[in-house]
């Protein structure tokens, strides 16, 4: 677990939290070199992730401070994105960040193309992909700046929360942890 003060507070709480202990165990198991944070190689030791076309995007979304590695706080925060108690806004935010590669708050034409290319590999021609990308941006872009903002994204994408399966059963304790971490950082 982290050595920051937020990490110490996390340790106190984890004595009571079954879910956090479980995730902590998972984190330690994934951390093959024992460095205290997960690198890309640590993730790529999971066979199911190796076959996932968007694994780099996922790791990138987890890595909020951009140092290329994922510490425990980032891990918990990332995993709770699909929590059973997450709201519509959280899920839309996550979906947006899948495409926003440079994290500037807008999905540009190039970014959308990049992610779509990762998903289809070499099975479709670049021209066809570009067509699909242009079409998507055209239909979503309201203010005409050639890229999709978060607001425009939300009007186009409509993720239904109640039908979301496959969520982790993280309880209110995780939300408390994340709030604590936020207040500590402010």
């Amino acid at each position: 677990m982290g050595t920051s003060a937020a990490g110490n507070r996390l340790c106190v709480i984890s004595e009571e939290g079954g879910e956090i202990r479980r995730l902590g165990k998972r984190f330690r198991k994934l951390d093959l070199d024992g460095s205290g944070s997960l690198s890309v190689d640590d993730f790529m030791s999971l066979p199911e992730l190796q076959q996932n076309p968007l694994v780099r995007r996922i790791i990138d979304i987890f890595d909020t401070d951009g140092n290329g590695e994922i510490d425990f706080i980032e891990f918990i925060r990332g995993v709770s994105q699909f929590s059973i108690r997450g709201n519509q806004q959280q899920k839309l935010n996550f979906a947006f960040r899948v495409y926003d590669v440079d994290k500037d708050g807008f999905i540009s034409n190039g970014e959308l193309f990049q992610v779509l290319k990762a998903m289809v590999g070499s099975n479709l021609q670049d021209a066809a992909l570009q067509q699909a990308v242009d079409k998507t941006i055209l239909s979503a872009d309201r203010d005409g700046d050639g890229r999709i903002s978060f607001h425009e994204f939300c009007t186009v994408v409509d993720l239904v929360v109640s039908h979301q399966h496959g969520h982790t059963q993280l309880g209110p304790l995780v939300q408390k942890v994340l709030v604590l971490n936020k207040t500590h950082q402010t």
């Binding site: 079954g18 066979p47 979304i61």
Partner: protein
């Protein structure tokens, strides 16, 4: 000094007496004195009491965390198409085109794998629902009561000071008699008497070894037992699988020649009955291996071959991919499902964590080994089926019988990476989804990629 020799001599005589009359003779005839059964029943009662005690203790101390032994993810089992359909909220105009919510599907799958994946958990021991009073499985359990601790302490004493020496002595007796017995039988000329004697020696010594592990084996459907000239395939959890299966029949083993003690064992075993041992260099040449095995099977009078198609030890919660090499030999396949009862001892050999000696010591200091063996009806390859499909068919039958999860993942992933072709498969599947009625042109013609939704 003489007294010491005298005492040692008496002990040795006593030991031999016990072994011959109480263990070897019953083993030769396949009988049992019932001691192990009584022991198991007593153990079950104690463990049930312990479980109740722990549950009561957990209710009284709500601060102690309750271990989550089931998965912490609730997955829905749908195909890529179904899940993307749900993500898109079933909007018909979006069918067959790229939709912004598609990326979420891959991320969700990725997150599920990060929190709990189906593959790596098979390569470590399964967690128990409740503590079985062994120190090594005490992961999440706190001090509950004095009585429980006393019972646990007694358990440690019994297991390490009483059972362990007994088991070690028994196992070494069994193995040494196997070596001597097969050597002696090897000197006889080829005849049916030799075969019968060889079978007797093998069975007796394996049964002695099984007693040395306090193994209680329940065989089901004995009428489907593998016949001569067939191939027996089973799921693999531990090297002890061989002992378990050989307690009820004679098999021709297949494997690499080793050096040292194991090598001596192999050399003497092959004198009395035709096992198939390979040099390390030969193992790499698949054709040589297949040819030798085919020879063996074709002579219908030879013992059935025992093969573990997974190729590696898996933790007995699932069956991983069967390598198709064993299914290309021809002949009848006799599937066998083996399931260990985890309450009495964890039989899984985690070869990256323990070497053979420490693994055997752990086995001998567990409570016991209780195992169910199901013999399944013989199967043969059908017309129009290739070896890989046949292998999958056999695998699902075994998984179904043993109550194990049927996984398509390769057990070899314990040590090596996933092939790139799997990732390309995912990409291909997705491309097929977003290609629909004339929305996007592809590199192939539209008629080839049309799919119904």
């Amino acid at each position: 000094m003489e007294n010491l020799w005298y005492v040692a001599g008496t002990i040795f005589q006593l030991w031999m007496f016990v072994v011959v009359f109480f263990i070897m003779l019953p083993a030769m005839f396949g009988l049992s004195l019932g001691v192990t059964e009584v022991y198991i029943q007593v153990l079950v009662k104690i463990l049930e009491w312990a479980t109740l005690r722990i549950q009561r203790g957990q209710q009284e101390q709500p601060s102690a965390p309750i271990p989550l032994h089931t998965g912490i993810i609730e997955r829905v089992g749908g195909s890529m198409e179904e899940e993307m359909w749900q993500l898109r909220c079933s909007r018909p105009e979006a069918a067959g085109a790229f939709c912004l919510s598609d990326g979420v599907y891959f991320c969700k799958k990725g997150l599920e794998s990060i929190v709990e994946d189906q593959v790596t958990q098979r390569f470590s021991s399964e967690e128990l629902a409740s503590w079985n009073l062994l120190t090594r499985t005490n992961q999440n359990f706190y001090y509950i009561s004095l009585r429980l601790t006393i019972i646990w302490g007694l358990g440690v004493f019994v297991r390490y000071c009483v059972l362990l020496p007994f088991r070690i002595a028994l196992a070494s007796t069994g193995i040494s008699w196997l070596v001597i017995g097969t050597c002696v039988v090897g000197f006889l000329p080829e005849s049916s008497a030799k075969n019968w004697l060889s079978e007797l020696v093998h069975l007796t010594c394996y049964r002695i070894c099984a007693r040395g592990l306090s193994a209680t084996i329940h065989y089901h459907n004995k009428e489907n037992r593998p016949q001569k000239g067939g191939i027996c395939v089973a799921n693999h959890t531990t090297p002890i699988d061989v002992v378990i299966l050989a307690n009820d029949g004679c098999y021709a083993m297949v494997g690499q020649t080793h050096g040292g003690l194991l090598g001596i064992l192999q050399k003497s075993m092959v004198r009395s009955c035709p096992h198939v041992w390979f040099e390390r260099s030969e193992m790499k040449d698949r054709n040589t291996v297949t040819r030798r095995l085919r020879h063996h099977v074709a002579a219908k009078t030879k013992l059935p071959i025992l093969i573990f198609p997974e190729g590696t030890c898996v933790n007995n919660t699932s069956v991983m991919m069967f390598k198709k090499g064993s299914f290309e030999i021809g002949g009848t396949i006799y599937p066998v499902a083996i399931k260990y009862d985890r309450r009495f001892g964890d039989a899984f050999w985690n070869s990256s964590k323990y070497n053979m000696v420490s693994y055997l010591l752990r086995m001998m200091t567990s409570w016991a080994i209780v195992v169910n063996v199901w013999y399944l009806p013989p199967m043969t390859i059908q017309d129009g089926e290739d070896a890989a499909q046949f292998a999958n068919r056999v695998k699902s039958v075994i998984a179904h019988q043993g109550g194990l999860l049927d996984l398509a993942w390769d057990g070899g992933l314990k040590r090596c990476k996933v092939k790139d072709s799997l990732k390309e498969e995912q990409q291909k599947m997705y491309s097929n989804i977003i290609v629909g009625q004339n929305h996007i042109r592809t590199t192939k013609t539209c008629s080839e990629t049309r799919e119904d939704q």
